[in-house]
Subunit: 410 residues, 2 copies
C-alpha cells in the first residue's frame, strides 16, 4: 500500500490511512506500507536547501546534502504512521531507506534503486509486523542517504512489492485512472483496467496519477498495480480503483483508452540551418552532453534552397538553458536564428488498440481541425499520437478528442 | 563546536554559524560541528507524535517511533549547514547518528550514548573534511534511531569531543555562564571560569545554559568545555565565553560562584504518618518503582505523639502522578492527608569555596530572613545549598543572595 503526500497531509488523514491499513491486514494479508512526506513538507525542505545553496550566488545545491535534508520528510511520516498503527493495537514499525536497505546508485537527487535485499522486511512481515517504509529515499553504497526524485515514492512502493513478491496498491487523491483529466472534461470515465504500456504513455504524457518510472518498473517486474482512493470515510471501502495489468488481461479493448496533456514543455525553433548531413547530430549531441532531454522533433525545408528549419520540444525548466547552449554554438552549428516558445501544450491520445486499427490519426486531426486547433508538431509511437498546439487551446482540444473517440461512452 | 536551536533557527543564522566554523577552520584546527534542530522544529515534531499517540485515548507514544520522527529535525540542520559550508568553498559533509555511528542503549526518548567508534570521523577529518554531526540522535544496537532527550545535543557534542580527543565549544544565545540569570539580576557578571562541579550543580539546579549530562560527561572524560555566543556579527569574534575546567585550573576562587533557581519542582506533603521505621522506604520505594525522581526531603514530627509529617519535591510533570500513586497506597503507608503545592521555587547558591569556608549557610539564611522570605525545605551538598521557597519570592531571593555574596563585584 502506497500513500502519497495529500493522503498523509495531517494527523487526521494519517489516522484514515491507519484505518485502511487495518482493513487490509484484517483480510489476512501481510502488509508493507510506503509513505510520502506530508503534503507541503518537501516543498518547505527544498526551499531551505535552495536558500542554503543560494548563499554563494547560484552554485547548484550539493546534492548529497540536499538528499539528507529532503529525505527527512518521509522519515517523519513513516514514524507517525507506525505510531498511529500501534495505537490502533496493530504491530508495526517504521523502516528508513538505509534500514531496509533500499540500495541506490549515487546519482543524488534522482537516484535509481539498484537492489532491495528482501530478508529484513520479509522476516518482520513473517513475524506479523506491518512494515511502514519511508518512500522516496534509499542509501547509496557509501552509506549516504539518496533520494529518487520527485514522485519517487511510487517507485519505492513498486520496488518493495517486487522485492517481497507482492502486489502494489497506490492510494491517492483520485479513485483511479480516468479517460482524461475530469477537471477539464466532466464526462471523463474511470477505467476499470489499463495496460502497463498505456499507463506508461499516460504518465509520460502528462497524466500525473503515477510516476513514469514506477510503471516501467511494475511492467518489467510484473508487479500487479492498482490505483485507488485514500479519501474514504471510516467504514467505507476504497472501491476497486483502476487495475494496471498486462494487455492480455484486458478483455474489452478500446482503440483509444485516454487523452493526456502536458504544459510542461517548451518549443525551440532553429531557422536557417545548413541543409547538410551531421547538423542534427551537432545540435542534439550538445544537448545530450548537457543532459537536456529532447522530445518531439520536426525538420522542415525553407523556401530558399539549401536551408532548413528545425523545431523540437524540451522540458520547460531546461528551456532557457537549451537556448543558451545552442547560441553559444551558433557559428559551429550554423543556424541564423533561434526562438523559444513556452506557450505550447502537448495533447496525446493513447491506446493499445492503435496497433491493429487504422484511422486513429485521421480522427484526431479531423477533430482538431473542426475546432480550429492548429497542429505545430506531431510525434507518434505504436500506441500513442501526440500533437503540440498553442497552450490556449488545451482544454478545447482535450474535450474534442475525448468526444471524437467516444470515451464518454461505456 | 556545538550550535543549539536558536543559533540555527533560520538560513541567515545558519550562514552565521558557517562563518564561525570557517573562522575556526582558518586557525588550522580540525573541526567537527554538532547541531540541534532549528528552533521550534522539535516542538512541532513532538506535537505531531502527541497527536499520533493521542489517537488511542492517552496511550504513551511508542518511543522508538517517537525517536524516528523527532530525530529528523537535526538531520535537516546538519544537511543545511553542510551545504552552506560547501557553498562557502569549504569541504564538509553531514553525519547522522547511525552513520558516525553514535551507539546508544535502547532507552528510546532518553537514550544514553554507549560508544562512539572514532574511526569514521577521524578519517574524514584527517582528510580535511569538516564533520557536521546531527546532535541529539544516535542508533541503538538493533539499528534503530534513538534520541538522547531534550538538550541532548550538548551531550552529543561532548561525547564526540571525547571520542576524537578534542575540546568542546558550546555556542549558544548567551556569551557565557553568569553568576545568576541576568534577566533577574542586571548586575549578574559573566564568569571567566567555572569548575565542572559547580557547572554541574548550576545545570542541575536550574541554570539552563548546559545540559547536566553533558557536564557530567565532560568532567568524567576530561573534555575541555567552553560556553560562548553564536550571536556575533560578520567579522566579529565570539569572545572568550566561559571556560568550564578542573577546580585546580581556577586561580582566584570565590566562596560562592553563582545563584541558580528553578520553578520546575512541586512540593508534596504527607501528614500524619506513623512514626515507625520503614515508612520512608514504603513511600520512596513506590515512587522509585514508578520512575519518579525525588529531590529535597524533610521529615518533621507533629505535636501529637507518634505521628510525623514528610515533605519532598518532585518534578512538576510528575507531581499529579506522584499524589495518585501515594493515594492508591494510602492505607498501606498509613498517612492521614496528602497535599500538593506547585507554587514553589528552589533557589540555590553554588561554590567550591564552601568546602573550606564556614558561614555560607548563615549568610544565606540571614539574607533571606531580612527580606521576609520563608524557607520551606533545605538541602545541601558539599558545594551548594538549596532552599525551597514560595515561588512569588523567587526574584527577590535571587537578588538578595547575589548581593549577599557580593557576586556583582569583580
Amino acid at each position: 500500500m502506497k500513500f502519497g503526500g495529500t493522503s498523509v497531509a495531517d494527523l487526521e488523514r494519517i489516522r484514515r490511512v491507519g484505518r485502511l491499513v487495518a482493513a487490509e491486514v484484517a483480510t489476512g494479508k501481510q502488509v508493507a506500507v510506503v509513505v510520502s512526506a506530508m503534503s507541503g513538507k518537501t516543498n518547505e525542505l527544498v526551499a531551505w536547501t535552495d536558500g542554503a545553496g543560494a548563499a554563494a550566488q547560484g552554485l547548484p545545491p550539493s546534492d548529497d546534502e540536499y538528499d539528507v535534508v529532503v529525505a527527512s520528510g518521509e522519515q517523519v511520516t513513516a514514524g507517525l504512521l507506525a505510531m498511529t498503527l500501534r495505537n490502533m493495537g496493530l504491530n508495526a514499525r517504521s523502516w528508513m531507506g538505509w534500514q531496509v536497505p533500499i540500495i541506490t546508485d549515487d546519482a543524488h537527487g534522482r537516484a535509481r534503486i539498484d537492489d532491495i535485499p528482501p530478508e529484513n522486511l520479509a522476516r518482520a512481515m513473517d513475524a506479523g509486523e506491518i512494515a511502514v517504509i519511508a518512500g522516496f529515499q534509499g542509501v547509496d553504497r557509501q552509506g549516504r542517504i539518496a533520494t529518487l526524485g520527485r514522485g519517487g515514492s511510487d517507485t519505492s512502493a513498486v520496488a518493495v512489492a517486487a522485492a517481497v513478491g507482492g502486489a502494489c496498491d497506490i492510494y491517492t487523491d483520485v479513485d483511479g485512472v480516468y479517460t482524461t483529466d475530469p477537471r477539464i472534461e466532466s464526462k471523463a470515465r474511470k477505467l476499470a483496467r489499463i495496460s502497463y504500456e498505456e499507463m506508461l504513455e499516460m504518465a509520460s504524457l502528462g497524466a500525473k496519477v503515477l510516476q513514469t518510472r514506477s510503471v516501467e518498473l511494475a511492467m518489467s517486474q510484473h508487479v500487479p498495480l492498482r490505483v485507488l482512493s485514500s479519501f474514504v470515510e471510516p467504514g467505507e471501502a476504497p472501491g476497486q480503483g483502476t487495475i494496471v495489468c498486462d494487455e492480455e488481461e484486458i478483455v474489452e479493448k478500446r482503440i483509444v483508452s485516454g487523452v493526456a496533456y502536458s504544459r510542461d514543455e517548451a518549443k525551440v525553433s532553429l531557422f536557417g540551418l545548413p541543409d547538410t548531413p551531421g547538423v542534427s547530430s551537432k545540435i542534439f549531441g550538445r544537448l545530450a552532453d548537457a543532459n537536456v532531454n529532447v522530445d518531439m522533433i520536426v525538420q522542415s525545408h525553407a523556401r530558399s534552397e539549401g536551408a532548413a528549419n528545425m523545431e523540437f520540444t524540451v522540458g520547460k525548466r531546461d528551456a532557457a538553458r537549451t537556448v543558451e547552449i545552442l547560441r553559444a554554438a551558433q557559428s559551429e552549428i550554423g543556424f541564423e536564428d533561434a526562438q523559444l516558445n513556452e506557450d505550447v501544450a502537448k495533447v496525446s491520445v493513447i491506446g493499445v488498440g492503435m496497433r491493429s486499427h487504422a484511422g486513429v490519426a485521421k480522427t484526431m486531426f479531423t477533430a482538431l481541425a473542426e475546432k480550429g486547433v492548429n497542429i505545430q508538431v506531431i510525434s507518434t509511437s505504436e500506441i500513442k499520437i501526440s500533437v503540440l498546439i498553442d497552450a490556449a487551446y488545451t482544454e478545447l482540444a482535450v474535450r474534442a478528442l475525448h468526444a471524437a473517440y467516444e470515451l464518454d461512452k461505456v
